[in-house]
Symmetry: C2
């Protein structure tokens, strides 16, 4: 019996899951990653120097400290940020490294799996920023038409 190539295996895996189906686990995973904080965290990690990496995270371009993320993602509550980071760590999208400094330095870094979502998340963020004016204009037109 012929063994499957990696590409065939991936194609088969894809066929097995279908997020259109309510009971499929991929529906829940899609729900998990369809979240603005997930998008912003995955867009922030691995960004190319638009943030100033902390001393302990220097030299690791995909790594950011908890405090840096907290500052960059303006308005996120500590609870929400911590929960979202833990969920991303559990899913294997980021790694968490605690360095025993005083106080403890906690760094987050994209895994290869997380990196595979990074471009899409940056794309979503950019899309919202690039098309904001069009969307505002569309809303104004719609509201005029409906009222």
């Amino acid at each position: 019996m012929a063994t499957m190539t990696a590409a065939q295996k991936r194609a088969q895996t894809k066929a097995e899951y279908d997020a259109f189906l309510a009971a499929c686990p991929s529906r829940k995973l899609l729900d998990r990653i369809s979240d603005k904080w997930v998008t912003l965290i995955l867009a922030a990690l691995g960004s190319d120097g638009s943030h100033q990496p902390g001393i302990d995270c220097a030299g690791e371009p995909r790594s950011m400290r908890y405090s840096e993320l907290s500052r960059l993602l303006a308005g996120v509550s500590q609870k929400m940020l911590t929960q979202t980071l833990r969920s991303l760590e559990r899913d294997g999208l980021i790694t968490r490294t605690a360095t025993p400094t005083v106080p403890v330095t906690v760094c987050y870094e994209l895994t290869d799996l997380g990196l595979s979502l990074h471009q899409m998340m940056r794309g979503l963020k950019s899309w919202a920023e690039m098309n904001m004016d069009d969307v505002l204009a569309n809303r104004a037109t719609y509201d005029t038409r409906v009222l």
Copy 2:
């Protein structure tokens, strides 16, 4: 004074909005599109024949009837589907066309703006389906390590 090229204008627009900022309208727009129903609707519309288009929507590959969407997005409530479609219409991502048959036929179609999100949304859906096994394995490893 030199006039700006289209590319320069887009770059300037992008610089004006920043979804990392809590008060920026693009943060809310990012929140709006970071939603599993939005992802599934925009992935469904414009899909290449994986669904069977209804009679009244035939010949328009980016168009689907309400009833078709409702069936394809298994588990979505009528209220949620209607609200999400209205919001997408208001933002100018889809158009709604009612044909006066008995009963009325309502079709939804991607606009050019909606089409610009379609590939990303299909990408997100595919990502969830392709990487489901890896994520499940990561979760099992994490839970073993933590417990």
